[in-house]
């Protein structure tokens, strides 16, 4: 029962090193502070215990001392705040060329789809050493995609996309938990992230692919009749979607917004919200006509139209210098069975 008793989470992503460094710094600072307070209290309690004939010395207080132990903690807090903010920003800005995985959270299971088309339930196979960007939404309540080994957690909300990314540095199988209470089987909504060597990953990828997600998206784009208005030339009643994704879009009421995943999703489900400049609001809503998976496929298709220049299917695995943390010997803790 006690064969596997980790006291420290596995370190399997670039972020893990940064978070652990800040954590250890804070443990040391807090440990020192707790030690200081405990020894002061115990020493004073012993040294100044009540003795007959020795009255307490009334000390009013000293403003300079008060200022010192207000300002110094605040300065230390600011250091911690800035360090935490830097780590947070790095964790919340996905690199541009990351491979994308669409995650749909449903009461008590995770459905994952690779851009290359593979579909998985409660499991995610990723190659080591490549940035992976997760585009997540929920079909019902709020869930939270939590991989302790990657020090990554991001709530998954119904009605919009939330994005998270990681860069696995150590092959192995790591826990995937749902971290936001979501009902009866909240503790059963778990899975695993299987990080594989690139060669193993290619082998796994080749089998069982129904074609890239963007291809499925293209099929749905045609079936639903989107192509009748969104044509490749400029006579269409809807805007031409070539090269739209990721670029700013001028709206009819003068605002400009970046065409990200949430914009594409909103334009499909609630076309009236943001009308592109120079177009009439004639697009019907597809709310309820399109499932989450079809929606993900359409978003992947629109995305593929804008980076048409690249090879589309397999983004070349950019050779990345292993992050500082990954170089060290893997931390204690064996394979998770």
């Amino acid at each position: 029962m006690f064969d596997n008793f980790p006291l420290w989470p596995q370190r399997a992503s670039t972020m893990a090193g940064n978070v652990d460094a800040l954590y250890i710094f804070l443990v040391i600072v807090s440990g020192l502070m707790t030690l200081l307070i405990f020894t002061a209290v115990i020493f004073f309690a012993a040294r100044f215990r009540r003795r007959r004939g020795v009255p307490a010395e009334q000390i009013e207080g000293s403003t300079p001392l008060e200022l010192t132990w207000s300002v110094i903690p605040f300065v230390v807090f600011m250091v911690i705040f800035l360090w935490g903010a830097v780590v947070y920003f790095k964790g919340r800005t996905p690199p541009r060329d990351a491979t994308e995985v669409y995650v749909v959270a449903k009461q008590w299971m995770w459905k994952l789809e690779h851009a290359e088309g593979q579909r998985e339930i409660n499991e995610l196979h990723v190659p080591v050493g490549r940035d992976v960007k997760l585009i997540m939404t929920s079909q019902d309540v709020i869930h939270s995609f939590f991989v302790p080994a990657f020090r990554m957690k991001q709530d998954v909300l119904p009605g919009r996309y939330t994005v998270a990314w990681f860069h696995a540095t150590k092959p192995g199988t790591y826990h995937l938990f749902c971290a936001e209470y979501c009902g009866t089987q909240h503790s059963g909504m778990i899975g695993s992230i299987i990080v594989m060597e690139p060669a193993q990953y290619e082998a796994w990828m080749s089998g069982g692919s129904t074609g890239p997600l963007s291809a499925t998206g293209e099929k749905i784009f045609a079936e639903l009749g989107c192509s009748t208005c969104h044509r490749t030339d400029t006579q269409g009643r809807g805007p031409n979607l070539q090269g739209v994704f990721g670029k700013p879009v001028l709206l009819e009421d003068g605002r400009t917004v970046i065409a990200d995943e949430n914009y594409v999703r909103e334009s499909i489900l609630d076309p009236g919200a943001k009308i592109v400049n120079g177009f009439k609001p004639v697009m019907p809503t597809f709310q309820g006509l399109v499932s989450e998976e079809q929606l993900n496929a359409l978003v992947a298709y629109v995305k593929s139209l804008s980076n048409a220049g690249e090879s589309g299917v397999k983004a070349s695995p950019a050779v990345l210098v292993p992050a500082k943390g990954a170089g060290k010997a893997p931390a204690k803790g064996s394979q998770v069975q």
Partner: protein, 546 residues
């Protein structure tokens, strides 16, 4: 003076009149405080019972003691009962009600009838919550997050919500009563700089109760309206934003944790001053830091939502403000420690609880810094690290302070002395049991065990077993005070007016005090914590109590 009072039984608020009516229709703030004491202890043991069931379930990785749904209801009910029916009312309603008028030299609170109404609202809320628990309970967690609470569960959310709504008004009216009393009914000479720090702490608590509770009240009304009349305000299918619920909920629920801890800080200030025979170091800084905590407490709520989907820039702002609110708490801890310097310290039970508070609140506060750091928060939020953090503050801080206060003022409340030996033993057991229960949860949290998990991967079992062992010790630790307090009501030695020779107006009157607190209205001519005068007057006799 600490002399025995052998003369015949004097008329006091306890033996002035008997009969159920004299208790259930009383407007005497002291009797209402005792009514609260009984009802709060009742709810504390219900919440504690749920906690033990949760810990028993978590002994084994598989869910084998109770069903998944039952477990979800257990931790929800544990949260709701402990927070809304024990922690928020406990110190303000029991010790605050009893002591605020006496400490400022008033005969009663400003609105005695509203004070009784507050207790009845608390009882109505309590009965509604009990009925809700017995007929199905709630399984959303005490946080009621939408859209789960509004659309994906059919447990009794509306009834539990209305119970909390009603109990919330009891908290609002208590806060209102205290603020008006402290402003309007101080004895002549009791200026703001002579107020005991207990009063400053309760003033700050009342500010939060008055300004925060209504926002959660309207949020609960919106959830109830959405469930019953389908008016979808938080409903994502209509385009509603579930994060708006979290903003409105945490706008109250973070300041609520300061409602729970500030009164304990007030108690600890009184105890440390009395048992070090010294004025608190930097009195004005400690007083103003209570107010600073109350005001800053309203600026930081979204540090509960860093991974919930709020914008990165908002997370930055709230993380920065969260560090600002940590400074006053740090100032308080430093001042308490500095008060011990060159004191004349005596280790009675209240002082042991104050030391316990000092240690555990420091650790709770420091782990709050971990959670405020954005980088670490992403990893540790919604894990057992958070569970350990807030239990260190609430159980290690608020409950230790509450027990310390109960021991310190028990002679004044009951007119009897509690058994000192047993009290010190209980303090030790609570301290040890507490640490054994919650320190392993810090490690569990960082290793990655999520909150509210009915079953967990086997590698987390050892730490969970330790935590459950600690919970049983803690349970025993909490039973002891109830037993010997009841025992002392019957068999305790009669208490002198001022057993600890403490400073403060409440010690200038008899124990237990007469119904109108003072035979003739006190006029305050001395500064707060004038232990020099008190010790000067009786240099030779060392006040050994019990």
């Amino acid at each position: 003076m600490a002399t025995e009072n052998p003369q015949p039984e004097r008329v006091n608020y306890l033996n002035k009149e008997y009969g159920v009516g004299s208790w259930l229709l009383t407007t005497d703030h002291k009797r209402i405080a005792l009514l609260y004491l009984i009802s709060i202890t009742f709810f504390f043991f219900i919440g504690g019972f749920f906690a033990l069931l949760i810990r028993l379930e978590l002994l084994t990785p598989a869910g084998d003691l109770v069903q998944a749904d039952t477990y979800n209801k257990l931790f929800t009910m544990h949260g709701m009962v402990m927070i809304f029916f024990f922690l928020i009312p406990s110190i303000p309603a029991v010790l605050g009600n009893f002591l605020v008028p006496m400490m400022i030299g008033a005969k009663d609170l400003a609105f005695p009838r509203i004070n009784l109404l507050s207790w009845y609202l608390y009882i109505i809320g309590g009965v509604m919550m009990l009925h809700c628990m017995l007929t199905g309970g709630v399984d959303t967690g005490w946080t009621f997050y939408t859209p789960f609470s509004t659309a994906y569960t059919n447990t009794k959310i509306v009834e539990a919500g209305l119970a909390i709504f009603v109990a919330g008004f009891s908290s609002i009216l208590t806060g209102l009563n205290f603020v008006v009393t402290i402003h309007r009914m101080r004895a002549p000479g009791m200026t703001w700089s002579r107020l005991p720090l207990f009063i400053w702490a309760h003033y700050a608590t009342s500010i939060i109760q008055i300004l925060g509770t209504p926002v959660v009240a309207i949020t609960i009304v919106l959830v109830a309206v959405e469930r019953t009349l389908h008016l979808g305000i938080f409903d994502p299918k209509l385009g509603g934003d579930p994060l708006l619920f979290q903003h409105l909920f945490w706008f109250y629920s973070h300041p609520a944790v300061y409602i729970m801890i500030l009164p304990s800080m007030g108690i600890v200030s009184e105890i440390i001053a009395c048992f070090s025979r010294k004025r608190i170091f930097g009195y004005s800084f400690v007083a103003l830091s209570s107010i600073a905590i109350a005001v800053f407490g309203f600026l930081v709520w979204a540090h509960h939502m860093f991974v919930a989907g709020i914008s990165v820039y908002a997370a930055l702002i709230f993380s920065l403000l969260s560090y600002a609110v940590a400074v006053p708490s740090a100032v308080k801890v430093f001042n308490w420690t500095a008060t011990l310097y060159k004191g004349s310290i005596h280790y009675d039970a209240p002082m042991l609880y104050a030391f316990g508070f000092l240690g555990l609140f420091t650790m709770g506060g420091l782990t709050g810094l971990f959670l405020a750091a954005l980088g670490i928060n992403v990893h540790v939020t919604d894990t057992y690290f958070v569970v350990a953090h807030f239990h260190y503050i609430m159980v290690g801080g608020a409950v230790m302070g509450y027990l310390g206060g109960m021991h310190f003022w028990w002679p004044k409340i009951s007119g009897k002395l509690y058994p000192e030996g047993w009290a010190r033993l209980a303090a030790l057991i609570v301290f040890i049991g507490f640490n054994l229960t919650f320190f392993p949860q810090f490690i569990l949290g960082y290793v990655g065990m999520p909150r509210r998990y009915y079953q967990y991967p086997p590698e987390f079992q050892v730490l969970n077993v330790l935590s459950t062992a600690g919970a049983t010790v803690l349970g025993v630790g909490y039973l002891l005070p109830m037993i010997y307090f009841l025992w002392s009501m019957r068999y305790g030695k009669p208490a002198p007016d001022n057993p600890w020779n403490a400073a403060g107006l409440e010690w200038k009157t008899a124990s237990p005090p007469p119904t109108f607190n003072f035979d003739e209205e006190p006029v305050v001519t001395w500064e707060a914590y004038n232990y020099e005068q008190l010790d000067g007057a009786r240099k030779e006799e060392v006040p050994v109590a019990g």
